[in-house]
Amino acid sequence: MTAPPGTPLAGQPDSDPARRAPAVTLEHLVKRFGEVDAVSGVDLEIRDGEFFSMLGPSGSGKTTTLRMIAGFETPTEGRILLHGKDVTGVPPFDRDVNTVFQDYALFPHMTVGQNVAYGLMVRRTPAAELASRTDDALRMVQLEGYEKRRPAQLSGGQRQRVALARALVNRPRVLLLDEPLGALDLKLREEMQIELKEIQGQVGITFIYVTHDQDEALVMSDRIAVFNRGLIEQVGTPADVYEHPLTTFVASFVGTSNLLSAAAARDILGMDGTFTVRPEKIRIGAPEDSVATDEHSALGRIREVVYLGADTRYIVALDAGGELIVTQQNLQASSMEALAAQGRVVRLIWQRQHVLALKGGTTTSGEAEGAET
């Protein structure tokens, strides 16, 4: 039996129970900075080998949570367990996790090679092993031949790779990444997303990935935790979170918010509460179109048409109040035809099974305004 390279504990029978323990366990984690509640009670289990994303808007406590896992911040309350072991009071240098920082935090006075070898150097790794592992790490991020350069002589994408190699060379069991692609342009970011995912597959360690970009989280993750105001609103697979959002916040933050509440919900769905329908599940028909028994429908007028190349987005003002966004692929329609739809009176139709009930949606301000216009 040969373990793939970089799988640190494969084949050690003693470690079996530890391997089955979650990679990271957060127990009622709280962090207060003076008056500010950065993290207000997070419970979470992250499985070994998982690509786990923490998704949320700015200021929702993602970075603070990550920094507590790394050991840079001490929790105000709660416990942190790494592979079943309590590390709440353990300093960063004694934790088996490594971090890729948002600003990369490369050492400016060292070469790329010295940067990558740093973790091995401070742990007094024998010279030969240090050299070969450094080479391996640089090869993994496709930076062979850059050893002698300084960070200042690299592009943003290359610096990002150095930061990644510098963390991975230590073969941590958990890698923390704080918006590592935030500073890159869209094209490079999409390339790096695929590459990061591949690297994670190769090394087989747990990745905890902080981002505020929902597409990024959906593309890359095995599971996602959606953060809002220092709390987790939902944890689940990308499909779970996207198709079955539990709260108004998750529905609007992950994907386009398409909420039906108050009068609109009663009129159209015949139910009280707040509901959502994903834009791509809605079809646009003529007002006189018939509706099947397993379908809902609503009359409205196309207020705005946004042509997006592959898709077109229609914003429809409902007669019952509020708005719904509908996206349709431009299979046959030309941009001319799509744009000509503006102002048209239409019937929106969707299947009942695509309507999702949400928690905590009655106070959404956008709805109240929408109902009046």
């Binding site: 840079f72 240098f93 600003d103």
Partner: protein, 266 residues
């Protein structure tokens, strides 16, 4: 800017007057160092390098010069170590009374030299110390430490924290992080702080007068003592010129270093 030609001329003349006022005495001093005659006469009757040889051969000058070098180096070394420790404490750790301590650390720079001098003298006497090179070094270190502290603390304020965190994250304990990351980051600040405090020590006279005791002379003290003796005048001029260069050059270098790194970090 749209000054009238008259204002422009006036400003230009004013600038030259100020520069002349600042630098003419120095030029005169420099020229007299090459004066053939023992007496001060303008213009000098002829130029010579004779007095440089004389100064170099003068045992009192040589002893004073050596003392100045030792005092400057030792005071600078002490200042760099203590100044760095103090700035790290103030800049990297939060503790009760930190702001007060930060203020107390730079306050002595506003103290008149006479006060520092007499306070040190009284203290040394109370402790029963022998006055000499050792007491000069301690005296100089008191103001050099402020310079070193100021330089380092300004740098620490600008240095980003994340590389230090990255270092800890990669397994380095506090000491290794300091040695491999923080210290190299402070490098040029230490160098410019060191040069400035050396220059400051090298031409210091007031504190030195109070802490030197009878037998020990530094270069400024030797000049001060010899200026009354007309026979020594040509040698005094030479020594003064050397002192001038040795205190200006480090300040110039320190400026250059500080300027360069400011450019790099941006």
């Amino acid at each position: 800017m749209t000054e009238s030609p008259f204002v422009r001329v006036l400003l230009r003349v004013g600038t030259w007057l100020v520069l002349g006022f600042l630098y003419l005495p120095l030029v005169i001093l420099a020229v007299y160092a090459f004066n053939e005659s023992r007496a001060l006469a303008w213009p000098p009757p002829g130029l010579t390098l004779h007095w440089f040889g004389e100064a170099a051969a003068n045992p009192a000058v040589r002893a004073a010069f050596l003392n100045s070098i030792i005092a400057g180096s030792a005071a600078t070394a002490i200042a760099l170590v203590l100044g760095t420790l103090a700035s790290l404490a103030v800049q990297r750790f939060a503790f009760f009374g930190r702001d007060t301590i930060a203020f107390a650390l730079v306050l002595p720079i506003a103290l008149p030299g006479v006060i520092t001098g007499i306070a040190l003298q009284t203290t040394f006497k109370t402790m029963g110390l022998n006055f000499g090179l050792m007491t000069i070094i301690i005296g100089h270190a008191t103001f050099c430490v402020v310079i070193a502290y100021n330089n380092v603390v300004a740098r620490l304020r600008r240095l980003p924290r994340t590389p230090e965190e990255a270092s800890a994250d990669l397994g380095a304990d506090s000491w290794m992080t300091f040695r491999h990351i923080t210290l190299p980051g402070m490098g040029t600040a230490l160098l410019s702080g060191g040069l400035l405090s050396f220059a400051l020590s090298f031409d210091e006279i007031i504190v030195t007068l109070f802490t030197a005791g009878a037998g020990t002379q530094t270069i400024p003290i030797w000049i001060f003592a010899s200026i009354q003796r007309p026979t020594e005048l040509p040698v005094v001029n030479v020594v003064a010129l050397v002192l001038l260069l040795l205190s200006v050059i480090p300040v110039y270098l320190a400026q250059r270093i500080a300027g360069e790194t400011a450019g790099v970090t941006r």
